[in-house]
Subunit: 233 residues, 2 copies
DNA sequence: TCGGTATTAACGTTAGACCATTAGGCATTC
DNA sequence: GAATGCCTAATGGTCTAACGTTAATACCGA
């Protein structure tokens, strides 16, 4: 007969209002919200309450707060880092092993290869060649890092020209997933042959050879998988 | 040469401290943090600052706050729904289109099929058949919903017996995709042939026929893609 | 013209007060 | 003795008013 009422927390009501404005694109990235003191007046609450609402929105990545003159709350343009951090959280929550993540990588990074071959522009390919050259040079100087490997795979993902896919690839190589304990043990092994496989892969893409590119990438990622499954013994 | 140092915002430091305690399991779900006033003393800051920190943690789904006697901040485990709801907003801001998400789905959900065929147990297959039967029945009663479609795809993902993949498939069908405006327009079209395609797909899996299963699923998802690209005209 | 300084608009933080909500104990009543 | 209702203490929610800190900009002197 009576349904529970929940009127609590004014700050939550403010969060909802502003979030809806953003969802419906009445506030778009780059827009600046009124200053805290103005928001106080408009909402008819104290500054503390407004600030708590802004904290929540900020924590959700919807706004960014800058101090100083001309500061205030700005609707953000989300970076792929933020997005992949969110995905990484999801994956972490499921408490998956590095082995499982690698399997997912194989599925995904092999699956996009036809798309990469089809859509990669000359500029994409030149970028990849340039990257590979740099990485091989770094390897010879003994300065090759996992970050470089991640950079390569991310750039390959970008060749699909699909923001959703870029984001996913990015999240596979983001800092959070790499922090999985098992992943670090694999790092030293990867550099040695990895960069040369990268180079061969790029050439296969340049020749629009899906089979060859797929075969190379499969070998490349499966080496990681093998190292990981060894660490579990 | 110098990395940006960000010492600002005490509340952020508090968030970091508490979050680390939770990450390292020194605080586990169900634990109660000290009251706001006690935290003030322990951190040596004012109550407002502590409260802002708690808001951020609450927004991240790490704690839950109850008022009244015996109330306070209690550690919780964020649900994947909470996290993907947060992601949905970011994706909206990043203006990833439903079309792009669908392309990513094609890559991923087709890519896992060999794994599904290889690993699906008899129980998995029986579950899928059962689901399909229910959905067809619901369809005939005119009660078929998008949630059911999502349920089917999620169950297929579970057949890989890989938590990372399950989580990713899940996030494709969670509130994330559903929040995209374009996706909703596609919903009515899907039910009619979709459920029968589901049934055929399950039988292809049961026969361990990768090619057939892939072909069916590709048609199935591409119909969605077609509907979506139409809405862009 | 250049470099430093003052201004100013904004967020960040504090302290102390009061309100609202809740669990649990206590007292009253039948 | 049991049920009901009140009281109290603990705790989060909000307010006010002030001061500190930061950063963009304008101004001014050499």
């Amino acid at each position: 007969m009576f349904t529970t009422v929940s009127a609590n927390r004014m700050s939550e009501a403010i969060v909802t209002q502003i979030r809806n404005l953003i969802r419906t694109n009445r506030l778009v990235p780059g827009d600046r919200l009124p200053s805290e003191r103005e928001l106080c007046e408009q909402f008819g609450v104290s500054r503390v309450t407004v600030r708590e609402a802004l904290r929540v929105l900020e924590a959700g990545g919807l706004i960014e707060i800058r101090v100083g003159a001309r500061g205030g709350a700005f609707v953000t343009t989300p970076t792929s880092d933020q997005l992949s951090a969110g995905l990484a959280d999801l994956i972490n929550l499921a408490s998956v092993t590095a082995f499982e993540v690698t399997e997912a990588r194989i599925v995904f990074e092999l699956g996009i290869i036809p798309m990469v071959v089809e859509r990669a522009t000359d500029e994409d390919i030149e970028d990849l060649r340039e990257l590979t050259r740099e990485h091989i040079a770094a390897l010879k100087r003994g300065e090759y890092t996992m970050a470089m490997s991640a950079q390569f795979h991310n750039r390959v993902g970008a060749c699909t020209h699909n923001a959703a896919i870029e984001m996913l690839v990015h999240s596979f190589h983001g800092p959070l997933l790499m922090s999985l304990r098992e992943a670090r043990t694999a790092a030293p092994v990867m550099g040695q042959r990895g960069t040369y496989e990268h180079r061969d892969f790029v050439e296969a893409i340049a020749e629009r050879n899906v089979e060859e590119a797929t075969a190379i990438m499969r070998r490349h990622i499966e080496r990681t998988a093998k190292v990981l499954s060894k660490t579990k013994d």
